[in-house]
Symmetry: D2
Subunit: 358 residues, 4 copies
């Protein structure tokens, strides 16, 4: 049973390969009557697009989105919405040298072993290019839920060993897009940019971390006991290429805390109580409590580097992989809109899963 | 759409409340013809049982498992297997004082807000007592897959600020069950036990961390692009009560690494290549590559403490919650069999999802 | 991927075998705060119970229902509701003579071939005894939706070649329960009873048909394009043991009609238009239009007869199956509450699937 | 929760509207390494295409299929396969006169009531044009399973009151495509053609029936207890536009039969027993037994006729709908490839759902 769909009630299915004809998404279960601006979807794709700055891959794709179904006279109809981006700058022959090779820490070997027959060009389906479909879908959901007061903002809080230790509420998140690494701390951003430039020059890649904040949620999203809100956010986030870890609220730091420190006291409030602290990260028992949700996603350095590496080919021979072609020295800034999109998908789905009381 | 089921092809549905009549699980999709020993399920439940040592809650439950369906003449029949544990030591009146109260960092408020009507006794459905159903199901799957060479072993690597920095492969995991905190480093274990004893004496609780290692998996488990093996492990793990974070392989540490450090070179091998290092944590492109899978799960300190705490009741009034009753100063050792069970559920499901090649 | 669950948002999973420990059902996604009378569930089971009249099987089961979870202080909590009936009169040795035999038109052969290991006692899981779980679940949903004005009534319109040609709206359905064959036409019912008595005496069995009418539905239930309301009703109905056919509205008769005869003209109405005729059977484009839904379900004669029959055993040998034991000469009257239950399951699920407009 | 997907393990999602940009399908879970001929998909579409003979609608669509993903170097890759047909002859202004009208026995009213905002052009999503996506998907599955010996053949056995009473095994199904009504009885076919021509001339439409035969299946397809093979075939078939009824094997005729007539005696056979008669229709206990599966599907006359009809508009006013535009006097011949396609989808899905024994 394949895994190209996400969501239960608001369900997306993505399709397409890095160097195939197109990448796209079918969004099923989207409510009818929502005004949709194609320009907002395009703007979201532009944030994820390759070639947007000198520190990202220089693959030339304009990533123009087209609508195949489900939007009529500017509004959703409740029918499946299909969004497609056709591939243009697919230099497939760049990949002929790795047709039979298993690149280290790529999915070449596991796809070959699992499927026998694979589209090796640019990683085919395993390429992060697939995530443009998620970003397009997220931009649909944003147009439905942002008017209801929900906001989702992600930013880079770490690249390599350069990181901010300040919590999200001490940062001015409106500054995130002011620099090409998407770190709202402008001074830190400059250091990050330098690090990425050096890394690029060295033909290497570097990891990083993204923090995401969801505000304005109603109380009651999330479904016990398996489909806890944070459990789905974790799955959603870890389904993004190169993501290695997820935590929310107090996160990994909670392991070293006492209950008397960690517990969030309730404070009377209208229309519902709030909490004095928010170690819970806006979720209790898997259900949103109306406070901000915040979580972190760790990303490994991307596997494509410009160094020669030892490896194996599909026939079992030891080989050397030459470092050449286009590469992204640090994908973490481009992961920001993807993390946001996945969060929109999770929130949109739980919004529709919320069972009315009898 | 509720969330009491887990898995796609091998699917479990759990039911029951902490102080209701019973806790149970229906396992659907389990293969036919597998010999099942009830004693192995019971042994797994005994590892999770309250009252197993002086540092856990003293609730007296023998947690005797009974089979209602699906096993005939000692073997599974391919029909739904239902396992039930009836509750006995349910001191419901212990909870009458919190009937209308929202305990800090519990699910009382969110359940009340979401459902309107809730079983407040011992947290009802939100109680970690529900996880016994998962452990029972995991013990079924273990009897099917352990004979095929799969092993899953979890252990405590941190309680409070006491932690081991040694990787799993430098520890002797066969020692895990030799002490009541389930830490394979016996010296460290003694310190952890002392810390939990002190915490208990102080009426407080403390967090911790569990590491889990999956060995002996075939290549090819995991489904791109959303149902990556690690993404489902993350969801499974974070669906456990009190879990705040998950990472696998290089995990959060990957953020500070370079690609040239992180990439796992392939080495020729029979029947398939292996990798020289294993920062990938046994998973590439969301699919198992035959190396060990290892992941970490961070747990917060449990919310029930013996201190008085400020809070709010369901009518919006400020109240004080008295610290009284039975409590678990540190649930992390009892989380070990639960983490293992969730891993078995994920592996069992992916085992059956594995699409044959055409 | 097994098939023991039904429904998408309101989902039931049934478990148990004819001569196992218990038969039961977990109902997940049921709304919170619905008052539940256990006596109504029991009453529904009593309508399906064996031994309820002299023309049904004389197996002695009181079919007492017990609640294991999900109901607290007389109301649903939004958590999984588990209902169980323990088996008592399980004369398993009645079946030792057919342990290795494949009874004609039973599921013995297909279960053996598919699963290898099966509970042969009374057909195990393939027994119609499993349907008591469906009836119990249906009785839950009835308590939620009947107060909203929905009614579902089924009746027997044919046994053998005795049938009523009158449409449902010319019959007084309140008379259905006045006779043991559940046919609202009392004169016809007497003929049917005589036919069943003769059939029983002859050690034979006879087929029949059930008509079901759903009234009081809101406009808008049903989901294009695959999950059309009538398509799910068809699946639900044909999942009942011995059911061979389903049609709705004009049904099979539509094949011989002209569009000008068949089309249902709309007539202005408050709060919505109605149709002058109802060949559509209350459903257009797969979505309820507010008119009555009516459908028919054809049942074959049950396979257990008191005649000797030629067959084959699991080793491939030709054998003779002796006709002996308890048998039901005509299950169609007992199918009436089962058909109703399946209809409640479909309606309850679509009620919760109904997407709010944006 | 919307309903645009079909299948559990082999899952399709269709999208698109009659007069929108395109109609398409994403097929997820299709095995890797299957050689795919696009020409075979095109041939299947040509059998369903409008304008294929003088008795079908004259809408001019070439229905050229294009592949967007999932096929590489002529073989499936295990990734989602996306097939798209762009719409060309979409005379949208033909529909401006019915923008606000509810045509009798169409889905206009129910879509308007359910969604508020709808694409009214040619019925939008409710148009049978959507079924081309199913036919394309079915043609994929055929290329995978036909080489394994499975064959699925449907034919028209009734139009209006002209019908064949001969069972499928007395007909030569290879003659089905020899005439434009797809009835293998050539003499009867001529009468059917005349009837459709007269009906067309009268501006009316007429119903009919399709019989479908599935041969060469292995034993063991179908999943108890809800997802019985025939229950899924019923749902699949009734999800086709205009379908009003389904029965299989002895079908509705079973209601009048005795068990002693209906039971299918087993006969020893290699590799497995067969049955002497086949009233079971190749399915016992919901699982295929290796004999032919045969079922019937009744279709109503299509709702579009060239007569003036009384109706209501969306404002509640009584109106008259003028009969004009292009219309299909009898869609039953074009339903033949659609019924086959739905059967392929069901068989393909169950093929992959078949649980290996432990």
């Amino acid at each position: 049973m394949a895994g190209n769909s996400f969501g239960q009630v608001l369900k997306i299915t993505t399709f397409g390969e890095s160097h195939g004809r197109a990448i796209g998404v079918v969004v099923d279960g989207f409510p009818a009557g929502i005004p949709i601006q194609l320009s907002e979807i395009q703007a979201a794709l532009d944030r994820r697009r390759p070639g947007q700055s000198h520190i990202t891959t220089q693959r030339k794709e304009t990533d123009q989105v087209e609508v195949l179904s489900g939007i009529f006279e500017g509004q959703s109809t409740g029918m499946p919405i299909t969004l497609v981006v056709f591939n243009h700058d697919a230099r497939s022959k760049d990949y002929s040298h790795i047709q039979d090779a298993f690149r280290p820490s790529h999915a070449d070997f596991t796809y070959e072993a699992k499927y026998g027959h694979r589209d090796y060009r640019g990683g085919g389906r395993s390429s992060a290019r697939e995530t443009l479909a998620r970003v397009a879908a997220g931009a649909l959901i944003r147009q439905w839920l942002a008017p209801k007061g929900v906001s989702i903002q992600a930013y880079v809080n770490q690249i390599g060993s350069i990181q901010t230790t300040r919590p999200y509420y001490e940062l001015d998140l409106s500054l995130t897009e002011k620099n090409i690494v998407r770190c709202p701390d402008q001074a830190l951003a400059q250091k990050m940019i330098s690090l990425v430039e050096e890394t690029k020059k060295a033909g290497d890649s570097v990891g990083g971390m993204v923090t995401c904040v969801i505000s304005g949620l109603p109380v009651g999203l999330g479904e016990p006991v398996f489909d806890k809100l944070h459990a789905e956010l974790a799955k959603a986030t870890l389904s993004i290429n190169a993501c290695k870890g997820f935590d929310y609220g107090s996160g990994f730091g909670a392991a070293a805390m006492l209950g008397s420190e960690h517990n969030d006291e309730f404070v009377p409030g209208i229309p519902h109580p709030t909490t004095k602290t928010n170690h819970s990260g806006g979720i209790q028992g898997g259900i949103s409590n109306g406070m901000d949700i915040y979580f972190r996603a760790a990303f490994k350095p991307v596997a494509t580097i410009m160094h020669d590496q030892n490896s194996v080919d599909k026939y079992g021979n030891a080989i050397t992989i030459k470092g050449k072609g286009r590469h992204d020295p640090c994908v973490v800034p481009r992961a920001v809109p993807i993390v946001e999109a996945m969060a929109w998908l999770v929130i949109g789905d739980f919004w529709l899963r919320k069972l009315e009381k009898g």
